[in-house]
């Protein structure tokens, strides 16, 4: 029996606080929607008709599907664990299985943010770094709803405000963090990049950039080939050792970028070995001083006063340059030069999905990083700081892999990586995609998180090829995690001429009876989070802070009272049944008894495993050392986490800090020091762009050529998103409520009382024009579909934007809710309005509704128009899909009196 869940005050991230979801963990654990046992589908797909089976039978069925396809054609398995916090295990499993078709949910979440940060800075917002909340003077949060990463942001905002810093929220909707921000900028969705470029224009116009920082720590001084006749136009000039060149302004000659004496020049065209070249800095100045980036030119489109833009630029300058933060600690840089102190510019940015989920999101994220770099505010006191194992240069990451070591053997590397140029795309010899999701093709060359959102439609149409088994974990693809929900349901249930499902087998794992469960053939039920082991691993996205590396575990506090098993343990057992390399010993028996065993004894590289604490036979080593069989006990004794402080001289400028680099090698983050300069100008982008301009052996197909040439600008740009339309003048977006974890919150008896149903929030002026009253109903119409939804009138929202809470609407029969539950009657999804394909272009082709660079799902490009609707006779929103049968029944309608039994 769980009496109470309380935060751990010693925990390095949450420091004892819990969010609403954390405190409601009791109700999550005791949810009536928990799956009870493995299930085999007995009715048609979607009906929800199942029979409970034993684990032996369930594993036999899974093996009977997975073993033959591994032996014949492993790519016929598509394994997409969605909101998976164990990707280093699941990815490794898929690699050993040998299918190229693996990714988690990043492609429809925030890959734009991750990719932009990785290519420019060597790490992105949130999981790789965070604002220096303690010392910053000016915080800008862009497109951050009440989610990632919720408690640290709340704590950070409180801290910043207590210290007298200004917090400014750039968001179309003034809820949550934006409600407490000192200033709210109610920007038009999709124009953040334009706004930031206007700020950058102001910095250049007024000479407020940190030249010293730029020339030392970024590629501002690197020389770019400026010879229009050269096939290398736009690439960096390099010496014989392939080192990029700078132009030394004292010696008037080219030097490699790592010459300790080098004094890079920021301007002037020079000729090196007969090639005209120009430094990155001057290219930037030319670009960003252009008048079309001026505040007056962008104000109308952004929905922000030009005066406001200029004032914010002035405030940034004041905070950055007149409030310098100095940490008096000597340090040594990558070239052996000693510095007496760290100097910081106390301006800190954070951004999330509101920036990411647009088709211009990748370049928009880059404008944010450019702004940070121009004022010298990255990896310095008061600015944006990385969390180990980041920062890491692009070169420290693998390139993507789809090739097998031998026919039907393991993949010869990890699936996901960072392409350096067209040669790293995953294309077959005939140019067709190697992966089912078309990741790493010309459709989305830098889709570094894969493209889970394209898998079902591609598999259903057999484009690029047919698959046999779709294996999903914790992703509600038949409901709120897909665009075009009704269409996706049709694809999951589509049959061929022989009356067989076009996706022959679907395996799904979740702890709860979500909408997706009904569309699977085999359910492998997961435990609740209180019944299992987990690790938040250094090989994934650990819990580190800027001053310390840290990771953590979960361990079971109660035994399951159902016939369920942790998904990771199931996957490990399946790996052994399939005799996957790494999952079996030499005699073919299972190598790991369960996930806990794997967490302790697995070594990815010698001495480097999932957990960094208490390693070595005696448990006294950290980071890199042999496994310790008692490791988990040590974690439990320490409150479930391990934390090791970074030496003081290594805490800032980590990317070029000699002490940090050596410490990181000792910890096992990488095997040799990897210092690097930040990339304002990203050469890999230029390589794709040059291919589109006709250079090199691998070029985009004709229909994508101009798009690649226009969008792959090596310097950050802004372009309008794909959906601008006069017919559909309003933007429609969603936000995730602070108290809900996607669709998983509505089964929770306490949380669902906070968001029992959602409404469409409509600006007052739009309501008045359409004659819609508060509490009335509206049709919301896109070029794809229409929905009927209840309306609430709102003022604190961008004047051209309507919005609602995400994933509150449910399908009748799911989540063990009664059929007349509010979520299933009045609740609604915007997903029905969003097509996974854009309307046909002039050539008749339909482009994916995603970022052309990364493939990020462009949820927030959605455009709509609104009309007054009569109240529906049955009081339900539309579309209203047929109820599903619940495989777990319905939660009790009697009073819930938690605690009665023992008080």
């Amino acid at each position: 029996m769980i009496r109470y869940i309380q935060g751990n005050k010693d925990h390095p991230v949450n420091r004892g606080v819990l969010c609403a979801k954390g405190s409601a963990g009791i109700m999550q654990h005791y949810s009536p929607a928990r799956l009870n046992a493995p299930l085999k589908r007995v009715g048609p797909r979607g009906s929800g008709q199942f029979e409970e089976i034993s684990w032996d039978e369930a594993m036999d069925i899974a093996v009977s599907w997975l073993k033959p396809i591994r032996e014949s054609d492993p790519k016929r398995l598509a394994f997409f664990p969605g909101r998976d916090q164990s990707q280093s295990l699941t990815g490794w499993w898929a690699q050993q299985y040998g299918t190229p078709n693996y990714a988690a949910h990043g492609g429809f979440c925030s890959v734009n943010m991750a990719a932009a940060g990785l290519y420019m800075l060597g790490g992105a917002f949130w999981e790789f770094g965070q604002p220096d909340w303690e010392r910053t003077r000016y915080v800008m949060i862009f497109g951050v709803a009440e989610d990632h990463d919720s408690n640290p942001i709340k704590m950070g905002i409180a801290k910043a405000k207590r210290n007298g810093a200004k917090v400014i929220g750039i968001n179309p909707v003034r809820t949550g963090y934006n409600a407490v921000a000192d200033e709210w900028v109610g920007i038009t969705p999709g124009t953040d990049g334009l706004f930031v470029l206007a700020l950058i224009h102001e910095l250049f116009r007024t000479g407020n950039v940190d030249l010293d920082y730029l020339l030392n720590w970024t590629n501002a001084g690197w020389l770019v080939n400026n010879d229009p006749k050269s096939p290398e136009l736009g690439m960096f000039l390099r010496d014989a050792d392939a080192k990029p060149l700078i132009w030394d302004r004292k010696k008037n000659k080219a030097l490699p970028n790592d010459d300790p004496e080098g004094q890079p020049s920021p301007k002037g065209e020079v000729t090196v070995d007969g090639i005209a070249a120009i430094p990155v800095f001057e290219l930037m100045a030319q670009k960003y001083l252009a008048v079309d980036n001026a505040p007056d030119a962008v104000a109308e489109r952004c929905g922000i006063n030009a005066k406001t833009i200029k004032r914010i630029a002035a405030e940034i300058v004041e905070a950055a340059f007149e409030n310098e933060v100095v940490v008096e600690t000597p340090w040594t840089d990558w070239l052996g030069r000693r510095h007496e102190r760290f100097v910081g510019r106390p301006v800190a940015l954070h951004a999330m999905r509101g920036i990411s989920a647009h088709s211009n999101g990748f370049q928009t994220c880059r404008t944010l990083h450019l702004l940070q770099l121009l004022i010298g505010a990255v990896e310095v006191p008061g600015g944006f700081r990385f969390k180990p194992p980041y920062p890491k240069p692009v070169d420290a990451h693998p390139t993507p892999t789809s090739a097998n070591t031998k026919p039907n053997g393991p993949l010869n590397g990890p699936h996901l990586g960072l392409p350096r140029g067209p040669e790293d795309l995953l294309l077959n010899d005939d140019g067709t995609p190697a992966r089912i999701d078309k990741a790493f093709t010309w459709d989305m060359p830098l889709s570094i998180h894969g493209a889970m959102h394209t898998v079902i439609s591609n598999a259903a149409t057999g484009d690029p090829y047919k698959i046999d088994t779709l294996f999903l974990y914790m992703a509600n693809m038949a409901w709120n995690s897909s665009m075009n929900t009704s269409g996706t349901i049709d694809m999951l249930t589509a049959k061929d001429d022989d009356d067989n499902y076009t996706i022959p087998h679907i395996i799904y794992s979740d702890a709860y009876s979500s909408e997706m469960v009904a569309y699977a053939d085999l359910i492998l039920p997961d435990t609740t989070y209180l019944e299992r082991h987990d690790c938040i691993s250094l090989l994934d996205r650990p819990i580190s802070e800027p001053d310390a590396v840290a990771d953590s575990i979960r361990w079971p506090v109660v035994e399951p009272d159902r016939d369920v098993r942790g998904f990771q343990s199931t996957l490990i057992a399946l790996g052994a049944r399939l005799q996957l390399p790494g999952f079996v010993t030499e005699d073919g028996s299972a190598k790991y008894s369960d996930y806990a065993d794997y967490m302790v004894s697995h070594e990815r590289r010698p001495g480097v495993g999932p957990l960094g604490g208490w390693r070595g036979a005696d448990g006294e080593s950290e980071g890199r050392a042999e496994p310790n069989p008692n490791q988990l006990m040590r974690y439990i004794e320490n409150g479930g986490f391990w934390k090791s402080e970074i030496p003081e001289s290594a805490r800032y400028m980590k990317q070029v800090n000699k002490d940090y680099q050596e410490w990181a090698v000792g910890m096992g983050f990488f095997d040799k020091p990897q210092p690097y300069q930040f990339q304002l100008y990203v050469e890999p982008l230029r390589k794709f762009q040059a291919a589109a301009e006709g250079h090199g052996p691998i070029q985009p197909p004709e229909h994508l050529r101009s798009r690649v040439a226009e969008t792959f600008d090596p310097l950050p740009i802004w372009y309008p998103d794909s959906c601008e339309s006069e017919e559909y003048p309003l933007h429609a977006i969603t936000q995730r409520p602070a108290a809900m974890y996607h669709s998983w919150g509505s089964q929770n008896a306490w949380l669902r009382q906070l968001h029992t149903e959602n409404a469409l929030y409509v600006p007052a002026t739009v309501c008045d024009k359409a004659g819609i009253e508060d509490g009335g109903w509206a049709w919301l119409i896109s070029d794809h579909a229409r929905i009927r939804a209840p309306v609430r009138r709102m003022e604190a929202v961008n004047r051209n934007t309507v919005w609602t809470w995400n994933a509150v609407g449910k399908r009748s029969g799911a989540w063990a809710l009664s059929e007349d539950a509010n979520e299933a009657q009045r609740g609604f999804l915007l997903n029905h309005l969003i097509s996974e394909l854009l309307p046909p272009k002039e050539d008749g082709l339909r482009w994916s509704n995603s970022d052309p660079i990364t493939g990020q799902a462009a949820w927030y490009d959605l455009r709509v128009r609104i009309e007054k609707a009569p109240p529906p006779p049955d009081g339900a929103s539309e579309p209203h899909l047929e109820p599903q049968e619940s495989p777990v029944g319905t939660g009790s309608s009697g009073d819930l009196t938690y605690g009665k039994d023992w008080t």
Partner: protein
């Protein structure tokens, strides 16, 4: 009728910061979680998995939208604002909920001012909820007794808890530092100082209930361009030359 004790010297209560409350409901759920198996009867939920679920809560957060002509009459162009307002028992000095209680179940403690309900004596008549100007009491539908915030009396004096945890659950969990607990009868306490520094106020003083709990107002928002916004000086025109000219000077400074 139940009488109030002489005002206590010690006045335990909450100070709630409307400047940082993001409306996340962490406090609401933590309160429910602690108190449903704590002091008195559980905080029940009706139709928890069906239509129109409801339940007993000792602390709720309400969200208000404030339009400019209300919030900033001096600045009619200011954008609308959203304020999250946590509401729970204010532990009033002249608690009207106590004096209307026909059975003596509602009472105010003389030692620390906490207002409590003795559930054994409560007949669920609901008079106290009618009398409370703040809507801070809820009649539990399963048990038929009146429930209200106890300031986590089973935490704050609980010697089985580490000393740092002897604070109400809502205060301990609040990620935004928006909730503070202490003795508002002591002018030297941290909560009294917060109230003094931040112009803390009580709700609806015209009701003469003398609430102990205080609220800190949202700080002035700055999302307005004044008549003379300070601007950055442009470099000499034309701009490109001006910028390169600046660059030369900046480089000289670096050398």
């Amino acid at each position: 009728m139940t009488s109030l004790p002489q005002p206590s010297k010690k006045k335990l209560g909450l100070v709630i910061d409307l400047d940082t409350c993001v409306g996340c409901h962490a406090c609401v759920i933590s309160c429910k979680e602690w108190n449903t198996s704590g002091y008195g009867a559980p905080l029940s939920d009706q139709n928890p998995y069906g239509k129109d679920p409801s339940g007993t809560w000792l602390n709720r957060v309400h969200t208000f939208e404030i339009t400019p002509n209300v919030s900033r009459c001096d600045q009619p162009d200011a954008p609308a604002q959203i304020v999250h307002f946590p509401r729970s028992c204010l532990h009033c000095e002249d608690a009207p909920c106590v004096t209307v209680c026909p059975t003596g179940a509602s009472y105010k403690r003389s030692e620390d001012g906490i207002v409590l309900v003795n559930e054994d004596a409560c007949m669920g008549c609901g008079l106290c909820a009618w009398a409370c100007p703040y809507g801070a009491r809820e009649l539990d539908q399963a048990e038929g007794v009146m429930k209200k915030c106890t300031l986590c009396i089973d935490r704050i004096y609980n010697e089985n808890l580490p000393e740092e945890d002897r604070i109400p659950a809502c205060v301990r969990t609040c990620p935004a530092e928006a909730r503070h607990f202490g003795d508002l009868g002591d002018p030297e306490s941290s909560v009294s100082k917060l109230v003094a520094e931040r112009d803390g106020f009580t709700l609806m003083p015209e009701k003469y209930a003398k609430p102990v709990n205080h609220y800190l107002p949202p700080r002035s928002r700055t999302d307005i361009d004044g008549p003379e916004p300070f601007a950055l000086a442009s470099l000499a025109e034309p701009e490109a030359t001006g910028f390169l000219g600046w660059l030369d000077k900046a480089l000289e400074r670096l050398n």
